[in-house]
């Protein structure tokens, strides 16, 4: 049985697009990354899965249960960390955990103690007084209390300091080894790369690629920018692996994406007069653009 199975899911807000024809299949035990720029449809997909919003058309199942009709059953099996976190401002941290636990008919006191220790959260603080980072920690803990089979994370690391992030990833990996499936949405490819087995890339409401993280890494794109001494209309050289070539307005700046033998590239530099040179890791946005243009070319 699949942890998540999404078939032809569409969501429109009136006429404006939320997501279009999303298909995804996530196996039990996977850590699955869901990446895309802001507004691409990540949160829409998650909110549809959780039945906060209703699908316009299409279907989705979580552990074989229908997201619309069986939403209560589904929620016994999942934990959710929203991207924007707000809590009841009249509660203390421990009261929130208690309130949360009541819905599962248990008190989880041992589990709370463990998680509180890992994340260094003060149980007696008022939720209203917590910093964004601390709220995030509380949100993560309340999502993990009942040891869900599926954990859905929407931009979970924003607000966590690097030390806390690595503790968090450690915990995710441990829970994953114990059988927890994790659906991890983010706009930062880098953090997804650290823990995920596979990723889906979403842009403008559509999934444009589903790939194993290993393969994505092997592609090893570099973003190359040259500043030439003399103005030039044409790119001075063309070798295999160069894509998305663009010559900027003043004709001295040339940039392209490169995936291939780095030595071939450096040899080319020897023959031209450079004023400056940048070799950069592409931002996620640029990788998207790259995929996107390739899609268009096909």
């Amino acid at each position: 049985m699949k942890a998540i199975e999404i078939i032809g899911l569409n969501k429109y807000y009136g006429k404006s697009r939320g997501i279009e024809n999303v298909n995804l299949s996530i196996a039990e035990g996977e850590i699955f990354g869901f990446i895309g720029p802001n507004g691409a449809g990540k949160s829409t997909t998650i909110r549809t899965l959780l039945n906060f919003i209703h699908p316009t058309s299409g279907k989705a199942k979580i552990f074989g249960l229908d997201i619309v009709n069986d939403t209560k059953e589904i929620k016994k099996l999942i934990g959710y960390v929203p991207s924007e976190i707000s809590f009841y401002d009249d509660m203390k941290v421990k009261e929130l955990f208690k309130y949360s636990a009541q819905f599962y008919g248990q008190n989880f006191s041992e589990r709370i103690d463990q998680l509180v220790e890992i994340f260094e959260v003060d149980l007696n603080r008022n939720l209203a007084d917590l910093s964004f980072g601390n709220k995030k920690k509380v949100a993560i803990i309340q999502a993990l209390l009942h040891q869900p089979k599926l954990l859905i994370l929407d931009e979970p690391t924003s607000g966590l300091d690097p030390l806390m992030q690595s503790k968090f990833f450690e915990l995710l990996q441990k829970e994953n080894q114990l059988g927890m499936t994790i659906f991890f949405s983010s706009h930062i490819l880098n953090e997804v790369q650290k823990v995920c087995h596979r990723v889906a890339i979403i842009k403008d409401g559509e999934i444009i690629e589903v790939e194993e993280i290993e393969k994505l890494r092997k592609r090893n794109y570099k973003k190359v920018t040259l500043e030439l001494l003399k103005k030039q209309q044409e790119v001075p050289f063309q070798i295999a692996g160069m894509t998305n070539i663009s010559v900027h307005s003043d004709n001295t700046l040339i940039s392209f994406m490169f995936q291939g033998n780095i030595n071939e590239l450096t040899q080319q530099f020897a023959d031209i007069q450079l004023k400056n040179l940048w070799l950069e890791e592409p931002t996620l946005e640029e990788i998207f653009m790259h995929y996107y243009e390739q899609e268009g070319a096909k």
Partner: protein, 268 residues
């Protein structure tokens, strides 16, 4: 029950403050009844009332109710406290109890728990009804005590009962409208202005309907007129049609709240 308990705790203070302040006010007003009714026999107050403009007297039932009778005195001096302020209390409670979760963005926390929307609504609406009932019960008990302490003669207890029942129905009617509105308007400030505006407009209609013969039809659109104290005291009953309209409004309002909330896209 989890959500009901939570809402009970969350709304307890406001219930207490509203109940105590309104019932205390009624008690104080009723405590003046004895000296007032004595003054009445001495003509001076009746002369004073004669001097009031007709419109003003009509608006507050001064021309048809007998202030020397404790029910009449209550109808003129105290009833408004319960009906108007109670309606505002009912609106503040019902307008925020559902929408607050969206306005404060806690709904994503709640909906991620194994609980159906219908269960959330049942608990919350249940609490609204429960608190409005308690609010009216406290007011009624205090009013009854005041009546028993300050009465100068026996009064018709069935009319007293109707004067207590009327506001309860009025509050529930407004509450069901507040609940329904709050499905569509979730910003707390906006919902408060819309719902309290609605109460004030309805109250205004009932006053206008009393003053102007031309605009008498407005009373059909104001729940305040449905439970008019003058009507109840003079006729000894609530109008069946109005009673049905209120019950119908309550059922439809709550029913539609369930229906729309269940289908609603909750985006924060």
């Amino acid at each position: 029950m989890i959500i009901f308990r939570r809402e009970w705790r969350r709304n307890f203070k406001s219930l207490l403050i509203w109940s105590i302040s309104i019932s205390l006010m009624i008690f104080l007003i009723m405590s003046l009844y004895k000296s007032f009714s004595e003054g009445f026999s001495g003509q001076s107050i009746q002369d004073l009332l004669e001097a009031y403009p007709e419109g003003l007297k009509a608006a507050f039932g001064l021309n048809s109710l007998d202030m020397s009778n404790i029910l009449g005195y209550y109808g003129i001096e105290s009833y408004l406290m319960v009906t108007l302020f109670g309606a505002i209390f009912a609106m503040l409670l019902s307008g925020s109890i559902i929408s607050k979760e969206e306005h404060e963005k806690t709904i994503e926390f709640l909906l991620a728990k194994p609980v159906k929307r219908l269960e959330i609504l049942t608990s919350k609406i249940g609490l609204v009804i429960f608190n409005i009932f308690l609010f009216n019960l406290i007011n009624s008990l205090v009013t009854f005590t005041a009546f028993e302490i300050y009465k100068t003669a026996d009064y018709d207890q069935s009319i007293f009962f109707l004067l207590m029942l009327g506001p309860l129905l009025l509050h529930l009617t407004f509450a069901s409208l507040g609940l329904l509105i709050s499905v569509f308007i979730t910003k707390t400030k906006a919902i408060y202005s819309v719902s309290i505006g609605l109460v004030l407009v309805a109250y205004f209609f009932s006053i206008i309907a009393n003053i102007s013969d031309k605009l008498k039809f407005l009373k059909h659109f104001s729940p305040f007129s449905y439970i008019d104290a003058t009507d109840i005291i003079l006729n000894g009953k609530l109008h069946l049609n109005y009673l049905l309209v209120m019950i119908f409004t309550i059922i439809i309002g709550i029913g539609l709240t369930f229906l729309f909330y269940n289908k609603k896209d909750i985006t924060i």
